[in-house]
């Protein structure tokens, strides 16, 4: 039971890390290597407002999400749109966007170091919380609940609304989406901005229980990438399930075998999925 509860909570954290990248990579086709930095930026906002104004990170999250949406929308329009326009094919766009966002990640790290070069550490809701006979940290539980809300909302939005369907259409096939009258540049910008907002909101919550610093973003980018590829690029359900699976496996290994083997276990599943289901758990095989 311990393993199940702690594992699911950790999985919720991973889902927060990965959902945003899934929208950005799966729909807007931008392999965003600055995704982790966007997350840390959200964390920095939460830390900074908490220590200077005692503002609850949950409130910060509500403020950060629209700001990150606008910021990411601008980044897409100003920096990434030209790359999309000039790219002759998917491969070229991927290489260009990797380089551009890699550069962007350095710029963001530099800005954050200038604001606060030390650890972003503070205490918020660090209280024990009893659930199904297991003690967990309240801040982790809150993050899990919010991750669940964001995840379910996104899945419902993607499946049952017109704009959501358009987003899925672009994710499946950009050319065909154009043919049925979808404004692909607009949907791509929307997805990229939405992805950035989800990631930054996740960062504000994660900062309540993980001690971050300005340069730690790359670790989250890597985790997000693994989860998105495991779940299937462009499939939100896949990312959420892959995140929960990863959380459960890491916790089970840490508890039952050895905490030293958590990373190994994570990469083993990743390898297994790449070998036997290269399109990801929910991905469709490319035709």
């Amino acid at each position: 039971m311990d393993i199940l509860v702690s594992g699911l909570l950790l999985g919720g954290t991973y889902a927060l890390v990965a959902m945003g990248l899934n929208l950005q990579y799966g729909v807007a086709r931008i392999m965003n290597l600055a995704s982790g930095e966007m997350l840390v930026l959200g964390a920095l906002a939460a830390f900074w407002l908490f220590t200077t104004a005692q503002l609850s990170p949950v409130l910060t999250m509500i403020m950060v999400a629209p700001l990150a949406f606008i910021g990411n929308w601008l980044i897409y329009q100003l920096l990434l749109r030209p790359l999309v326009k000039r790219a002759k094919n998917q491969g070229q766009l991927e290489v260009d966007s990797i380089l551009a966002t890699f550069g962007m990640s350095f710029a963001l790290v530099g800005i954050m170091v200038a604001i606060h070069g030390e650890y972003f550490t503070y205490s918020y809701l660090a209280n024990p919380f009893e659930i199904l006979g297991t003690t967990v940290a309240l801040n982790r539980f809150v993050a899990f609940v919010v991750a669940l809300i964001i995840g379910v909302t996104l899945v419902l939005w993607l499946n049952f609304t017109r704009p959501g369907t358009a987003v899925r259409a672009v994710s499946v096939n950009t050319e065909a989406a154009k043919l049925v009258g979808i404004n692909v540049p607009r949907i791509s910008a929307l997805s990229f901005a939405l992805g950035g907002a989800v990631t930054a909101a996740g960062g504000t919550l994660i900062s309540t229980f993980i001690t971050l610093d300005a340069s730690v973003g790359v670790i989250f980018t890597m985790k997000a990438l693994i989860i998105v590829i495991m779940g299937g690029v462009g499939d939100m359900r896949g990312s959420i399930i892959a995140a929960l699976l990863l959380g459960l496996v890491e916790t089970a290994v840490a508890t039952l075998i050895d905490p030293g083997l958590t990373l190994v276990s994570a990469y083993l599943i990743f390898l297994g999925i790449l070998l036997f289901r290269p399109q990801g758990l929910f991905g469709k095989r490319a035709t």
């Binding site: 702690s6 070069g117 650890y119 024990p128 940290a137 993980i210 840490a254 990373l263």
Partner: protein, 403 residues
């Protein structure tokens, strides 16, 4: 004006500015002592360097310059600091040090931040003859390294001293009947944590302790609750973690959440950071950690006050004072020699003793053995409770709950 013209004008302009810059630079160089500093501003160790390394360099340079500079044979000279970010990457560090030596032609370089960096960069400092007064560098290879590099000095102790401090403290508690002999020990799975755990295992056993839980975890583990749960299930009397900053915070937080009741709770690096006390408040009263200081010592108290005034933040309760003391040693040695002669300065450091915030420092075989090994949070201050060659250790207290 077409684009080519603009470019041509721009580049001429830049060239003029550049030449002017170079000229003023070399004019300036004649009357300053140039000091290089390479340490992380980004990467995993940046958070620690921003607490213990960079503010002390700022404080030291300001104080030296405020009093008119270093007193040399041909008059007083101010110090000019040239900083590079090593991105917590030894390769970058070596490149930056090379650049300082060959292009910036600095007179001295401040020793790197972190054990691995001090060891990795020692050959390059030795090659150019820079004295390297290492602070944040804890190793059991001190004898071997100082034998190989004549300009390399150590000031914060060996791995064995560091572990021995913890053994002393726990043995003391056991003799008073406060704790039994069961220890849960965990370590971060990188060079630092692995070496400490390897040294600690036989020392704990020799001292009659039984290690009932012994696990490692990868650096950056996002959820440390399985580790605290496992340690708690082993029902130990004391908990010892050879941890790094993010996990020092994480393990403590989980211990509070799990209400992990031990009579002695020790986490390593970052326990001495003011941010640790700031985060946990009174809950971490009587937590043990690496380092320590004696805030009642008038020199230390004065240093802490100046640090706060100049840099706007508190120094940590451990390596900050040692880092500042190492800079004082460098300044006094340069003044003692009276010129920026690296070879003479190195020899001067070996032959003399120095009056610093850490008291009188003297190097024997390039190693100054005067440092705190274990500290304890006691009513909002992290006091040293065990040291090598320093008096004024506070009595150790028993940890009672997380209130």
């Amino acid at each position: 004006m077409n684009r080519r013209e603009v470019l041509a004008r721009l580049s001429t302009g830049l060239a003029v500015v550049g030449t002017a810059g170079l000229l003023s630079f070399s004019a300036l160089a004649a009357d300053t002592i140039k000091i290089g500093a390479v340490a992380p501003k980004t990467g995993p160790l940046a958070g620690g360097a921003a607490v213990s390394q960079w503010p002390n360099i700022e404080l030291w340079a300001k104080e030296v310059n405020d009093r008119g500079g270093l007193k040399l044979k041909d008059g007083q000279k101010k110090v000019e600091i040239i900083e590079y970010d090593d991105k917590t990457n030894p390769g970058e560090h070596i490149k930056a040090a090379q650049r300082l030596a060959t292009q910036d032609k600095v007179d001295f370089i401040i020793a790197p931040y972190g054990t691995g960096f001090n060891v990795a960069a020692a050959p390059i400092y030795a090659k150019y003859g820079y004295p390297q007064i290492a602070v944040t560098s804890i190793s059991d290879q001190i004898g071997e390294l100082t034998g190989r590099y004549p300009g390399l000095f150590f000031t914060l102790g060996s791995t064995t001293d560091f572990v021995q401090g913890v053994v002393h403290v726990l043995t003391g508690l056991r003799e008073k009947g406060d704790i039994g002999n069961k220890i849960a020990m965990v370590n971060v799975a990188d060079a630092f944590g692995i070496e400490l755990a390897d040294v600690a295992r036989p020392l704990f056993t020799e001292a009659g302790f039984e290690i009932v839980y012994d696990k490692s975890y990868p650096l950056g583990t996002p959820d440390l609750s399985p580790i605290i749960k496992g340690a708690k299930a082993a029902n130990p009397d004391a908990f010892v973690a050879w941890s790094y900053p993010p996990d020092t915070f994480g393990l403590t937080e989980q211990a509070i959440i799990e209400d992990f009741q031990v009579k002695a709770f020790y986490t390593a690096v970052a326990t001495a950071f003011p941010a640790y006390g700031g985060k946990f408040g009174s809950k971490i009263n009587n937590v043990l950690g690496a380092g320590g200081t004696n805030p009642d010592d008038p020199k230390i108290a004065d240093y802490r006050k100046r640090h706060k005034e100049v840099t706007g933040k508190e120094p940590d309760y451990w390596a900050s004072a040692n880092t500042y003391a190492a800079l004082e040693v460098l300044a006094q040695a340069i003044e003692g020699v009276g010129e920026a002669d690296r070879e003479k300065v190195t020899q001067y450091i070996k032959d003399h003793s120095f009056d610093t915030v850490m008291g009188e420092l003297k190097f024997e075989n390039q190693n100054s053995r005067k440092y705190w090994t274990v500290g304890q949070w006691q009513d909002g201050v992290f006091r040293g409770v065990d040291a090598v060659n320093i008096d004024g250790a506070a009595p150790v207290r028993v940890k009672e709950g997380w209130e």
